[in-house]
């Protein structure tokens, strides 16, 4: 069992990507949208922290995490409006 953070990050990303592929079987609607965006947020954080090295830059990591979460929340808000037919 590897403890290499990069390989663990890759394994996490592949797992989340496969979970994302499985979402094509979920019926259209807010649940699908929220799950898809949550997976994207998790994958984005792994790429920022491990691949781009922000795990070792806590202040930058916090900033990027906040902006990424805010962006995904905005997209989720629009997707929820889609579900309500507004």
């Amino acid at each position: 069992m590897t403890r290499d953070p990069l390989l663990l990050a890759w394994a996490g990303l592949v797992t989340l990507s496969l979970a994302g592929a499985g979402l094509s079987l979920v019926p259209a609607g807010p649940v699908l949208s929220l799950m898809a965006l949550s997976l994207a947020l998790l994958k984005g954080r792994i790429i920022l922290h491990r691949y781009l090295g922000l795990a070792n830059a806590p202040r930058w990591r916090r900033g990027f995490d906040m902006v990424l979460a805010g962006f995904c929340a905005g997209l989720a808000g629009l997707a929820l409006l889609l579900g309500t037919g507004i």
Binding site: G20, A28, L39
Partner: protein, 180 residues
């Protein structure tokens, strides 16, 4: 302030580019999401023509390529030039695989007579995925350049660009291919 910049891994100018690119793609994805509200049924019907399995496979291809690029940075920092080049070559090959899968998707759309004018969804689809594919091409060239340079800092900069391409795709995938 210098303290804060020192904390940032890699070349600061590459981070400026990364943030700029994320803003551009972010605006495009937000615009697509907002436009979808004007015609949810039409957007869903248009989106049904996309190959979700191919796009999901491409996500696995890109994140694996990103891992190879990150491992190449580590190899460069420890002076293992041969290993660095092999890992970057692997990352570039996977970049080409991504483009081949994407090309097949475009060819399938063309065979169906779908163009960027067919529906506003396809205008966004071609703009966003086409612009992203152009970045994949640029990233492959950049990885090729840093592979021949004996400079760990250059490898880190090239890999950072590649990770940005990766990050954009994981945000683009749900908005373009899944949400309906």
């Amino acid at each position: 302030m210098t303290d804060l910049l020192d904390e940032l891994p890699g070349e600061p100018m590459m981070w400026v580019l990364i943030v700029s690119e994320l803003l551009v793609f972010g605006a495009g994805l937000a615009a697509l999401s907002a436009m979808r509200l004007t015609d949810p049924a039409g957007f869903a019907e248009a989106q049904a023509h996309l190959n979700r399995a191919g796009a999901a496979l491409n996500t696995v291809v890109l994140v694996t390529s990103g891992c190879l690029a990150a491992l190449a940075v580590r190899a460069a920092q420890s002076g293992r030039e041969g290993r660095k080049r092999a890992l970057l070559a692997g990352a570039m090959v996977l970049g080409v695989v991504f483009l081949v899968i994407k090309g097949q998707e475009y060819a399938a759309k063309a065979a169906e007579g779908i163009t960027w004018e067919t529906h506003p969804f396809f205008t966004f689809y071609y703009l966003l995925t086409g612009f992203h594919a152009a970045h994949v091409v640029a990233g492959i060239v950049l990885l090729g350049l840093v592979a021949v340079l004996r400079d760990p800092r250059a490898t880190e900069t090239g890999a950072a660009f590649w990770h940005m391409v990766d990050l954009v795709w994981v945000l683009l995938f749900p908005v373009v291919y899944l949400i309906r």
